[in-house]
């Protein structure tokens, strides 16, 4: 039940954030600092989420098959594979390493 509340709250916040952009006066656009913070936040959060999903298990830093996914995804991206292919490559890498007996 509380999960639903967080989902709905996240949806409301996300929508209001988008709408806010349409309602503020155009001169706010000239504020380079605001756009720079928004851009840095996007990069920082995605980088953080990438390593968290690779190395974190609860409060522990662990090294397991997910590292194989990170490397495989990186190679796929360097080869300019589309998003869905990158995701599938990441899954296959972890699945194969587990099949080979790694954690």
């Amino acid at each position: 039940m509380t999960t639903w509340l967080y989902i709905l709250a996240a949806a409301v916040v996300a929508y209001l954030t988008k709408l806010l952009g349409y309602l503020v006066p155009a001169k706010a656009l000239k504020n380079k600092r605001m756009t720079r913070v928004a851009g840095a936040l996007t990069i920082g959060l995605l980088a953080s989420l990438t390593v968290l999903n690779t190395f974190a298990s609860g409060q522990q830093v662990v090294f397991d098959s997910r590292i194989g996914s990170l490397v495989a995804a990186l190679i796929a991206l360097l080869l300019k594979a589309p998003f869905l292919v990158v995701v599938i490559v990441g899954a296959v890498a972890a699945a194969l390493l587990r099949l080979a007996g790694l954690p």
């Binding site: 988008k18 952009g21 349409y22 840095a40 990069i43 995605l46 980088a47 995701v87």
Partner: protein
Amino acid sequence: MKFWRSPAARTGASVAIATGLYGVSFGALGVTSGLDVWQTMALSLLLFSGGSQFAFIGVLAGGGSGGAALGSAALLGIRNAVYGMQLNALLRPRGWLRLGAAHVTIDESMATASAQTDPAEQKRAFWVTGIGIFLLWNVFTALGALLGNAIGDPKAWGLDGAAVAAFLALLWPRLKSREPEAIAVACAVVTVIVVPFVPPGIPVLVAAVVAAVWGLFGVGRADEGLEPDVEPHEASPS
């Protein structure tokens, strides 16, 4: 039909198909993160912003609280306010159209609209991309969620590895120069360092603070990290 012969509508449609398809990965990861099928579908329908949706379930999957999931999703959505300002200046939507435009304001609709120069084409690109992705993203989220529910052990299928790949793929097109790369590395390192010391979900927020401070005092281009290249890459208007 004349509308579909316009380069903007075609580009919009191809971007919508490419993006909508990977809703299947969000759906599958949503249910393996602990949400049920309806909750996963609600995120695509109501939150509708890929990065924020993946952040929400990524934090939950790592054992983070609902509050931390909400926080990271909200922070990752801030760039949409910047897109909203730019699109408002570009398209000037009026009345209730503005409410609809806000909902479909995402990386891809922003990128395809701003790639056009003619105002009519900008409008076509924005709406075709935005509505197209909204429809397909929701259909494929449902499909992915049912699929994720049907398979047994998500780890045996490498779905946790799929999440790693998804986040890297979301980050990748934004790393266009030295400064974003430096921000990414700094935030990644900070995250790994704080993991053992704070509850799950909090490391992302610590990284957000580092990024925000960097953005405040940084000297790079003002649009760094915004408007990534969107798929399909070759679909630039001819």
